[in-house]
């Protein structure tokens, strides 16, 4: 049995890393990929807009996931759990088409082809994933721990700060890493509402059309290199804390 499980595990790991191996093998020159000002700008845009979008995800997602897990009755939790699947299932391109309305005439400021529009598209693509992951983790933390803190005279704010936050930090980190992956890979929304300023996924698509596959894959490798440190750090920092 052990051998079978080990075999399946190894096979899955190989399959998971196969695309990365292909990417490394076929990518053009890394230095050439960053020699153009447009590509460097796309990298900068991805990182800056991504960090902003992740901050928005956390600012909105942490309170919402806490509210869902702590303030709602089990019945309402099931109801909202079902409802929240809908934005998560919306295909990114469909989201982009819908955002064309929200970012256009319905918005107080025109968001199409703006940095803010890009951030909004990234938030829409990633926030449901953040909330789902964070909420799922919060639900695994027993409520009795908070009730004990209240019994000891701690305020709700102190309970959150000293009890819930240390226990939930790992969950928020995992949710943040998931959201980050969605943010930096966001394509469906940005291709419709934020072609400019081009983030890396859109720029890779442009380079594919202009210069062909090796050049596009070279830039794609930069996307991997540039966006990897944050989830790696989150995993390192909070993965250890969990142990």
């Amino acid at each position: 049995m052990n051998r079978i499980v080990t075999g399946i595990g190894t096979l899955v790991l190989v399959l998971l890393f196969l695309p990365l191996a292909v990417l490394v093998a076929h990518a053009g020159s890394l230095t050439a990929a960053l020699s153009s000002a447009e590509n460097r700008m796309a990298l900068y845009t991805t990182l800056t807009s991504g960090i902003l979008a992740l901050a928005v995800d956390m600012l909105l997602g942490v309170p919402l996931s806490w509210f869902l897990s702590r303030r709602l009755s089990p019945g309402w939790q099931r109801f909202w759990g079902t409802c929240l699947i809908i934005p998560m299932l919306m295909p990114p391109l469909v989201l982009g088409l819908v955002l064309a309305y929200l970012a256009g005439p319905a918005s107080p400021v025109m968001l199409t082809n703006t940095f803010l529009g890009l951030v909004v598209a990234e938030v829409y693509e990633s926030l449901p994933f953040f909330v789902f992951a964070a909420w799922g983790y919060l639900r695994t933390i027993p409520r009795s721990l908070e009730e004990d803190a209240w019994a000891l005279g701690k305020t709700p704010r102190e309970t959150f700060r000293y009890v819930l936050w240390p226990l939930a930090a790992t969950g928020f980190a995992v949710a943040g890493a998931m959201a980050w992956a969605r943010i930096v890979g966001a394509f469906g929304g940005p291709i419709v509402v934020a072609y400019h300023p081009s983030a890396l996924p859109v720029q890779i698509w442009i380079i594919l059309q202009e210069q062909g596959l090796p050049a596009a894959l070279g830039l794609a490798l930069w996307l991997m290199v540039a966006v990897l440190p944050l989830p790696v750090w989150l995993n390192w920092r909070y993965g250890r804390a969990e142990r």
């Binding site: 064309a100 256009g104 291709i191 509402v193 400019h196 300023p197 442009i206 202009e210 596959l213």
Partner: protein, 320 residues
Amino acid sequence: MKPIIWIATSLGVTALLAGCGPKPSATPPHGKANVAYAGSLAEVNDQVIGPNFSQATGYQYLGQGGGSFGMAQKLASHTINANVFESVGYAPIQILEPKLTRWAVSFASSPLVIAFNPKSRYGPELTAIQHGKKPLKDLFRLMQSPGFRLGRTNPGTDPQGQAFYMMVELAQKHFHLPPDTTEKVLGAPDNPHQVYSEEGILTLLQSGSLDAASAFLSEAQQRHLDYIPLPRTLNFADPSENAWYHQASVKTPSGVVHGSALTIDITTVGKVTPAAQSFIHFVLGPRGRALMQKAGYTTFPAHLYGTRSAVPKKIRAELS
């Protein structure tokens, strides 16, 4: 009437009706026309040409669309599989030469138009130009208005984006507009305030984010958009105007591009299969042309690019 006469009559009518329908083929041909095409041809290929081709020949049809240059790059790098390629303009097909093809035939074009949103604040003026109540010349002044939201596609990746840029250059000459008209209307070729993806631009127009946008006539008709038609000197659809179109140019990351008619060009990719030959034969034939015209395309006698001897025999017949 005697029963025997009834039976004979019924059999006769049945035989007559059977003869009216499509002739059943004992062994339907095997194979698939796997067609990679420019995104703007999606509707006409998948909804019109493909089903009619399959019905007429028995071959299966499978289509996949995308930007002409992007599809050509993917075919050249073998990341997608197709045995027919249909692009806007000959330039994307040249990416496949000489390994995957050595010829192409241009046979149709879709005139460039300016699609607009009648509900925009410039809607009344755009509608007046559309109906000829105001001269077309006024459009190029209107597009310079502060706050006018014009959308076009990327000249670096899309033949339509190149043609739209050059159309304004030619309009400046044609209407004797001030020499800075192109600069004022369009700005830089890759102006981030105007350049959108091919996938998003008409959606943004329909949602109200844009006042006007570049489009092909076929796209405007398929999406039921209001549009301003352009004369053939500006619509990049007439190959006989190539000398005039060539006077305009646009700078792209891969070099300076000079104008030429935005024709629909078709070729085989890699080993020529019977299904691929049959598809091109159908498209170039009278039925295919009629269907293209119905979908808003202009067709003209097939024009060959590249090596004549490389053209499959069945298709060569259509050239003469």
